[in-house]
């Protein structure tokens, strides 16, 4: 490697710029941690004072679940660049595995529930490998169709099996999910995926999205990284499914249909592909929106759709982008990493 002799002042300038860059990075991390803790405390205060009401506090767990689903799907759609329409499939596999475990196991809750989350995640991850394998040969629309079919097949299988409760649903699930557990699970999802994306492995995944031919020519193991993305995304979708089952106390195969997958995809696209903060915010908005509009009864779905269209249009408008830049500058944060 070519190395130029540096003079003392050059070294000093280099050290200074590195220090500045480090501070900037650290500032971003500190900001995220403070925001995370603050959100947790505020939500807990609101729950205990009853300011949110029954309906409001009942939405906190679904928000966390949707954040997990959206952030994990973003790894496939936003970073790997493959369209997956089967995320609800992974979610259902995990949900049934985790819920069957807590129904049949007899352990203290503090061990049983985290174990159920991991079992749900791992089961879904196995299916992630199964779906990831054709993904090595297919891409674009073709892969989207395969993942879509996967979701539907899983749903029909669960529908016809006995031990899953069939179409009647799986009943007798303990209501283990509470805000704290869901919040921690969502945080773990975010931290894992953000850290992954900002490592050499994440860069390899993003490189495959940007140009698969030159990724191969650069020595990136495309097969491995495609599978890795599917496995990690499926794991967190499965864990989210376990939370979901223990939140509602009943699982019905019909919940995990095509619409559910699309709903998650809508969150990812709305938040911006390749943007984790975007996915989080969009997950919150999309979960709250139907509830906020509940009073409008008949017009609810109509307004929901219109709101979606307006949000999609405005999220890609240049005025809004400028506004975002300004806010970011004021907070001293640099731009995001993924696709615009």
């Amino acid at each position: 490697m070519a190395k130029k002799q540096m003079t003392g002042s050059e070294k000093l300038i280099l050290a200074q710029t590195q220090l500045k860059a480090n501070l900037k990075k650290r500032k971003k991390t500190v900001f995220a941690v403070i925001l995370g803790i603050a959100a947790f405390i505020i939500c807990n205060v609101l729950i205990s004072t009853g300011a949110l009401g029954r309906q409001g506090s009942g939405l906190l767990v679904p928000i966390c679940i949707n954040i997990m689903l959206a952030v994990s799907l973003n790894l496939i759609v936003g970073f790997l660049g493959e369209l997956s329409l089967g995320h609800a499939g992974f979610m259902s596999v995990g949900a049934y595995a985790g819920c069957l475990f807590t129904i049949h196991a007899n352990l203290p809750t503090i061990i049983e529930f985290p174990l159920a989350l991991i079992i749900g995640g791992l089961t879904a991850a196995v299916f992630g490998v199964i779906i990831g394998l054709p993904a090595l040969r297919l891409n674009g629309d073709y892969l989207a169709i395969v993942t879509l079919a996967f979701g539907e097949i899983i749903r029909s299988i669960i529908n016809s099996l006995d031990f899953t409760g069939g179409a009647g649903g799986l009943k007798g699930i303990n209501k283990f999910s509470n805000f704290s557990v869901a919040y921690i699970a969502a945080m773990i999802t975010i931290v894992v995926i953000v850290n992954l994306v900002n490592s050499r492995h994440g860069r390899a995944i993003t490189a495959i999205r940007d140009n698969i031919i030159s990724a191969e020519a650069t020595g990136i193991n495309v097969v491995f990284y495609k599978l890795l993305s599917f496995v990690i995304a499926a794991f967190f979708a499965g864990a989210a499914g376990v939370l979901y089952g223990h939140h509602l106390a009943i699982l019905k195969p019909g919940t995990f249909d095509f619409n559910k997958s699309i709903e998650i995809l809508v969150i990812v696209v709305l938040g911006g592909m390749g943007s984790i903060p975007g996915s989080i915010i969009a997950a919150i908005v999309i979960t709250l929106l139907p509830e906020v509009l509940r009073d409008l009864s008949d017009y609810r779905m109509l307004i929901y759709s219109i709101a979606l269209i307006v949000m999609m249009l405005s999220s890609s408008s240049t005025h809004l982008a400028e506004l975002r830049m300004k806010i970011r500058k004021k907070l001293g944060l640099s731009g995001r990493k993924g696709v615009a």
Partner: protein, 252 residues
């Protein structure tokens, strides 16, 4: 022993012999040119050497190791890196990250180190950043390091692609029309960059080019391809004055 030994390499697409009986020996540290009219099979030779296509006949060795039949990934790891005729950058990633993808296989921290941010992660990332900046400096790109690759002007995109290829630490660098679309000044600059790379990185370079000033200026030896077969081979100045070569390029 030559660094790259290519023996009777050929490939058929159906009945079409795109490349036939292509042989070349390239010594370590050499700047070798591959020229020929459009459709002569130059890029096909590159695709054969990088494993994109599997050769129908012949063999090629790098440093004595047989490489034919290996995948592009394996071939890159064994020491051949390339650039593309139509630039293929990771366009939505930063300039810095493009180079860091090139350094990917020279880091050893695994997925868990990455996710749980072990000391190994920080140590290797830091080394990686320093190495990437060092490499960007060579191509005068360090000011652009945080920009997205697609925002770079054309000439700089070409340079970044070379930087990324070099980051994989190859023994042999294949450049596919590095001067395409460049003005004479940019070509001049590119020529000195290529020379610099060869001298300072101990690199052996095989390049495809249509710009005869560039070929004449920096290549020590050339092979001329025409209709997939070798038309002439040897010292650059002699080959470029060969009447057969002139005919192939300009017609009768």
């Amino acid at each position: 022993m030559p660094l790259l030994q290519v023996k009777n390499l050929g490939i058929n697409f159906g009945g079409l012999k795109a490349v036939d009986d292509f042989s070349v020996n390239i010594e370590k540290g050499m700047l070798y040119g591959l020229i020929g009219p459009n459709g002569a099979g130059k890029t096909t030779v590159f695709n054969l050497l990088t494993g994109v296509y599997k050769p129908s006949t012949g063999t090629f060795r790098l440093d004595g190791q047989i490489l034919n039949g290996k995948s592009p990934i394996e071939i890159n790891r064994m020491g051949i890196a390339r650039t593309f005729q139509n630039i293929r950058l990771f366009s939505h990633m930063s300039v810095m990250d493009n180079v860091k993808v090139g350094l990917h296989n020279h880091q050893t921290y695994n997925v868990f180190d990455g996710i749980f941010r072990t000391p190994k992660y920080y140590r290797e990332e830091k080394a990686m950043n320093e190495e990437a900046v060092e490499l960007l400096k060579v191509f005068d790109l360090e000011k652009e390091k945080d920009n997205r690759a697609y925002n770079l002007p054309y000439g700089k995109q070409r340079k970044l692609e070379i930087a990324r290829a070099l980051a994989t630490k190859p023994k042999l660098l294949l450049l596919d029309e590095p001067a395409a679309g460049m003005n004479p000044n940019e070509t001049e600059e590119l020529m000195s960059t290529i020379r610099f790379v060869r001298d300072n990185f101990d690199m052996t370079i095989l390049l495809i080019e249509h710009d005869m000033r560039l070929v004449g200026g920096i290549c020590e030896e050339v092979t001329v391809l025409n209709f997939g077969t070798e038309l002439a081979k040897g010292k650059t100045s002699e080959v470029l004055n060969d009447p057969r070569v002139i005919t192939a390029y300009l017609g009768e």
